[in-house]
């Protein structure tokens, strides 16, 4: 457990690109990756010749960094990796490559691809049928995604929680998505519609789960020093980490009182000069609404089990969204529940847009710092504090 953070404020996110997200995609994973990548490189004021690092996530059905590099016409690269999906694995890898001098301008490409296992439309698509998933084809599997419903039932049992805080997470995302042209679904959601929703894995209904979508995000990272010469105001990675507990098999996790989220939060607190009283924006992951409740509690906004009363107290009823202390909006882009299952890249992209002042109609004036917490409970909790240079 280290207090060292020599990378603090040394690496900047300088380029953003996104295809936007859709449930009706008809482009190849490579076409989506290249569309996002070229946009991000142009946004950074760079060309393919400047890119000497390529990080491409190991999304099922998507292409590796060697294919991306060839297809983009990158000359040569000295850093090329294929991290697990979920945003910070790739961004941390890229940041560390920049910081250590492995490469100067690292492209991160993070496509998401609907698969036959999570979308009926994808199952009917002959171009996708061969794509494989690691999810077991048996009903009694508390592994992977299904475990969130199982632990949601445990949360409700332990704290006597109602579904009200779950509904507020879902409604907040839809409200904020209204002004995000990249979002797959941007229609508002009411408490009544949430309560009447189709159960998928009781206690979680269809609005408690993110949307399988097609699309891609891309980022360009470089040193804070180089960033000063590039077009946009630099956004610095102040602190960033991933974290797991050793006993992290989904149904063997000892309890909600000690998950990878706690490890992430404690590491960020050791590494960051800024914490929840200092931030202007909060981006907790909501691939499943239970994850978000846990992030609120584990980041210290409220005690364990306190999310229900906290969200009610910090709810703007006119706007139908969460505003912490009337000041800090949450998932200003609509999160994974509305934008689509970006695996947290949308949360990071939106935080960078806000901090450099390019968030358009969603812009929070004067935002200086954001806390971004992608990932769930088991093998992928992560967090970052980003700040405007």
């Amino acid at each position: 457990m280290t207090t060292r953070n020599p990378m603090k404020d040394q690496v900047a996110i300088v380029g953003l690109g996104s295809t936007g997200f859709t449930r009706d995609g008809d482009r190849s994973p490579l076409a989506m990756a290249l569309a996002a990548a070229t946009e991000a490189i142009r946004d950074a004021g760079l060309t393919a010749a400047d890119i000497d690092g390529v990080v491409a996530t190991s999304e099922p059905g998507a292409d590796g960094p060697e294919v991306i590099a060839a297809a983009l016409g990158i000359t040569e690269a000295t850093h090329h990796t294929k991290p697990t999906p979920v945003a910070m694995f790739s961004l941390l890898d890229a940041a560390r490559a920049v910081f250590t001098g492995a490469a100067d301008h690292v492209l991160v490409v993070t496509p998401v691809v609907m698969g036959p296992w999570n979308s009926r439309r994808a199952a009917d698509d002959p171009w996708r049928r061969g794509t494989r998933s690691s999810i077991l084809p048996i009903p009694e599997d508390a592994g992977k995604a299904a475990a969130y419903a199982a632990w949601a039932s445990r949360y409700i049992h332990e704290y006597g929680a109602s579904k009200d805080p779950f509904a507020r997470i879902a409604i907040n995302s839809r409200t904020n998505a209204a002004h995000n042209p990249l979002a797959a679904i941007a229609t508002p959601l009411s408490f009544g519609a949430y309560d009447a929703a189709r159960m998928i894995r009781d206690p979680l209904n269809i609005y408690d789960m993110d949307l399988p979508v097609d699309g891609a995000d891309a980022f360009v990272l470089t040193t804070a020093e180089r960033a000063r010469a590039l077009p946009h105001h630099p956004v610095l990675i102040h602190a960033a980490t991933s974290g797991i507990v050793g006993k992290n098999d989904e149904d063997q996790l000892v309890g909600l009182h000690r998950t990878g989220q706690h490890v992430v939060v404690e590491q960020l607190r050791r590494h960051s000069d800024l914490w929840i009283d200092d931030i202007d924006l909060f981006y907790p992951y909501e691939g499943f609404t239970i994850i978000t409740l846990a992030w609120f509690e584990n980041c210290g906004f409220c005690p364990p089990g306190g999310a229900e009363s906290f969200l009610r107290e910090h709810w703007n009823d006119d706007a139908q969204r969460i505003e912490i202390d009337g000041r800090i909006p949450v998932n200003t882009h609509g999160g994974s529940l509305s934008e689509g299952a970006t695996r947290g890249t949308g949360h990071v992209r939106e935080a960078v847009h806000q901090l450099r002042g390019t968030a358009g109609p969603r812009q929070v004036e004067g935002a200086q710092a954001a806390l971004v917490t992608p990932g769930g409970f088991f093998f992928n909790p992560q967090g970052a504090v980003l700040r405007r240079a």
């Binding site: 159960m199 894995r201 006993k247 063997q252």
Partner: protein, 149 residues
């Protein structure tokens, strides 16, 4: 046990969807005899599930499959309203999936479903259960039935 490729292939074919591998094969062989086997360390006595080749508590490689009682309490519970097709599974009323904490050791858990006649009133977190065997597609499957505490 000497390697028997034909026997191994039959086991793999039978449990193909379950993530079977060399390290958990004994657990699945046990299922064919309607015995719920879990990996236990011969040195420190701790149980481990899913089965892995080394004890994470004492780094002993002396891991042996042993039968558990199958008695425990429901720790996690969900009801699936959609999912992969399986014999005897009807998603229309919600197919229960329970993670049972076994009495052998805190946080030693096994995930399955419950018997078809499991009383609705007993289906809740904290409810005491015990092991029962059913057949799915001709293969024995460990599930849970209610028991008095």
């Amino acid at each position: 046990m000497p390697e028997n490729r034909e026997d191994d292939q039959q086991l793999i074919d039978r449990f193909g969807g379950h993530g079977i591998n060399r390290d958990n094969a004994a657990h699945f062989r046990g299922r064919l005899e309607r015995r719920l086997l879990m990996s236990r360390c011969g040195d420190c006595g701790r149980w481990q599930h899913p089965s892995r080749p080394m004890c994470p508590d004492c780094w002993s490689w002396n891991m042996t499959p042993e039968e558990v009682s199958g008695r425990g309490t429901i720790h996690l519970l969900m009801e699936l309203h959609q999912g992969p097709p399986a014999e005897g599974v009807d998603y229309r009323d919600g197919h229960p999936v329970v993670t049972v904490e076994l009495e052998e050791q805190p946080a030693l858990r096994f995930t399955s479903t419950v018997t078809a006649d499991f009383p609705d009133d007993d289906l809740e977190i904290g409810a005491p259960v015990e092991l029962e065997w059913i057949d799915r597609d001709g293969t024995p499957m460990p599930v849970f039935r209610t028991r008095s505490a």
